[in-house]
Symmetry: C2
């Protein structure tokens, strides 16, 4: 009952090909991803690519899986709700502006609109992130900092959504000052109870 060893050649081929695919997705969009273009970019032969991924959609899916499963860091409170929210948004903005994620997510959104597999992947990713971020609100509630009719989920979306809106739709810049102002803007909602 030994553990199944995986041929390192397969691992290498997959890694190289998916990295090339991600570069193509990022720079040219999913429409430019073909067995041929991935072969040219990765050095993997076309026949090998067909053997691993008979359809381009299989390749795209694996590439999206790769980028939508980043490590989720443990929640450590910064001490206050405002500080935690600022920290959350800083991380998000940094991921969007300085990592592959920012370049890939628009393509994943487009893929999700026409492909159920991609949609499931994207929604699962977002759901997972929301659940992690919910710890922020629950911790604040325990400290008595958060006491609102707004559900943690809706409140988090209120915080996070403008970042994506500015980035994906408006093309507005996002800097530390804006993040700080944004957190301050919503802070009156921490304790308001609407009726």
């Amino acid at each position: 009952m030994t553990i199944q060893e995986i041929d390192p050649r397969i691992t290498q081929t997959r890694a190289k090909a998916l990295e090339a695919a991600l570069m193509l997705i990022r720079d040219c969009g999913i429409g430019q991803v073909t067995h041929q273009s991935v072969s040219a970019k990765s050095g993997i032969s076309r026949s090998t690519l067909y053997r691993h991924w008979p359809e381009v959609s299989d390749l795209l899916n694996d590439a999206f899986v790769l980028v939508s499963k980043p490590p989720i860091s443990e929640f450590v409170s910064q001490g206050s709700l405002k500080a935690d929210l600022y920290h959350l948004l800083s991380g998000l903005v940094s991921a969007i502006q300085n990592t592959e994620w920012g370049k890939i997510v628009p393509q994943l959104i487009a893929a999700a609109a026409v492909n159920k597999g991609s949609a499931d992947l994207l929604h699962e990713f977002v759901q997972e992130r929301l659940e992690v971020a919910e710890q922020i609100i629950l911790a604040a509630r325990r400290r008595g900092e958060y006491n609102s009719d707004i559900t943690p989920e809706n409140f988090l979306i209120l915080i996070i959504a403008p970042v994506y809106y500015r980035f994906l739709l408006a093309g507005f810049p996002i800097d530390d000052d804006w993040i700080e102002g944004h957190v301050n803007s919503v802070s009156p909602l921490f304790k308001n109870r609407s009726r």
Copy 2:
């Protein structure tokens, strides 16, 4: 000095081809839009399509222009800020759920990420809509209903962004109850002044 008459054959060809292109974008994504597929869907011959749009990107661009220039309705206040915001979101959600716009915008976002022309188009569209919606806030301010440090633009994004987030990223449903709850959630901000 007569007005230049446009050959109706050209107008027809363009209309038919762009309609077909939009259907392909909506159903299959921009990657599936080719002169051939548009020809098959529209009945326009391939050679004619090449004459009108030498590159696929030209065709895509014209299609996106078509869909991103919808008529902007005059602002008529519903009487209160809450009612105006509810009205604004209802219209947006309806456009997203019941018209082409909802199916096309994910593709336009993806195109914008790799193509400056598409990006300009999208950002201009969003900017224009924000400016129209700003009338809501300005009217509320005149009535004394809105008095906040949050700029009208930032406030509107706070209102609008969660709709797009739920639709594009989370895949969450959006119904009238949610819209109403959302407007109520942010209503404490109408008059709050943060410090």
